[in-house]
Symmetry: C2
Subunit: 280 residues, 2 copies
């Protein structure tokens, strides 16, 4: 049997009681290590679960399904993933592969940033399409995600921006080599994301108050659900300089209407920010 | 200190390890009983936690904040809620009230239908604004939520429809009386929700294939994350007759584009349904 178990937002103890029971009885336990970064490392998890876990990188999860599923007709195998199991496409693929092989599959859900973002006080109902902001390189600076922010804005909705994570990325130089070399892990901060957004604004010369501007109210969230969680509400311009510490970060670009109850809650995360008048 | 602890999708064991530890050490534990319905009742929770819990109805949570927070400067008080703590506005209100009183507040996140809906294979990225479908009465048949489904559709996004729950609703006759009488609890099924949607389609005479029609692909979900979870993918018309058993139900109206990977996953929940050609 295959179990896919969400680990929630980061701490060892964020696993559900049911998830923990399953992990303890499984024959093999893999930890997916690339779509989400836990605040506790594999060693801490091994100690907490009191059992060995196998760290699975992208290659293993995406290409090594046969290896993960080996013997799962008689054995119990678990794949642990940060957040909720269905936040990334690769896991639906693994489920389908398992079902093709006639294996039973059980999912253990958990919190993910997609619902936990509600902790900033913005209502989950008022969010539109979620977007991802990728790291730019010198030669690759996509900005199509910005159209989705504008679309949400026009629909009077907030946008949750998931920020890029680079884990086990081969260096450009080693791409053509047999032996890959990997760059150190990088996690986009709210300030880096905001700088890219401001750059796009400047490129597009959206300089009116009708849509998203440098004065739009944004919310930066770091390490949501952990003891060191930090939330800042300020303008996009101010967010470019905000320092929210270590990963993971997420950014919300609010829509044109922030409900009074949302605003009242957000106020605890503001410090003298100068927003568009429409937020007053 | 005030803790607001998400219980996840329904089973006692869906609580996180951290949430359970907190419950065991708290002086008073309230269970919010109206915005979400757990598959296990208060008695089962009391037995699982091995402690007494106080069932809190809407009046207590919305109007009795002082009562809940009494003594929480020295005592530890927990409010348990179905799903994630920030799925309903009332909890942000309680947090603000607690902070006004100078109390510390800690949130324990968990899964909610807003992220767990990914279990049907539709990508969470491709969802627009979430809507709620209320029970109609003879004299009150709102349909403004349908505009949001259309808006999502035009934006090529799926719509998650949360279905009405009526718990401890006073009868119409007792509204003006001193002693309220309550109706038996009701939970809207995917079939009831679909019937209301078809009624709206007929009222509005949207009978072209451009937007949502009776042949639109819908996904009905029941008891997500539990052992009796049931998912059905069929047309809106067919969903009117679908029987997915006991609560809670949720309905997804898909957008005009269902990605091949989404469709491949959805196929396991279909049985000879006849969709709009665009899904093939």
């Amino acid at each position: 049997m295959l179990f896919i178990i969400g680990l929630g937002l980061g701490d060892c103890k964020d696993i559900t009681v049911r998830g923990l029971e399953i992990i303890k009885k499984c024959d093999r336990v893999y930890l997916e290590s690339y779509t989400s970064i836990l605040t506790c490392g594999p060693e801490a998890l091994e100690e907490f679960y009191d059992r060995k876990i196998i760290v699975a990188d992208r290659d293993l999860v995406e290409l090594g399904a046969d290896q993960i599923l080996e013997g799962a007709d008689e054995l119990d195998v678990a794949l642990l993933v940060g957040g909720d199991p269905f936040s990334a496409t690769t896991h639906t693929d693994l489920v389908l592969r398992a079902k093709e092989k006639g294996l039973q599959v059980e999912i253990v859900h958990n919190a993910s940033i997609l619902n936990a973002v509600g902790c900033c006080g913005l209502q989950l109902y008022n969010f539109g399409e979620t977007i991802s902001i990728p790291y730019w390189t010198d030669v690759w600076q996509p900005d199509s995600f910005f159209d989705k922010i504008i679309k949400n804005y026009k629909n009077k909705l907030h946008t949750l921006c998931l920020l890029d994570i680079k884990v086990k990325e081969p260096t450009y130089e080693s791409l053509t080599k047999k032996k890959k070399e990997y760059m150190p892990p990088r996690f986009m901060t709210v300030s880096e994301a905001s700088q890219q957004l401001v750059k796009i604004l400047q490129n597009r010369a959206y300089q009116n108050d009708e849509y998203v501007t440098e004065n739009s109210l944004c919310v930066g969230l770091a390490r949501v659900g952990t003891k060191t969680q930090q939330i800042v509400a300020c303008t996009l311009q101010e967010m470019c300089k905000a320092d929210l510490g270590g990963p993971l970060h997420s950014l919300v670009v609010t829509g044109p209407v922030v409900h009074p109850l949302e605003l009242e809650y957000l106020k605890q995360f503001m410090s003298g920010s100068d927003f568009n008048a429409s937020f007053d």
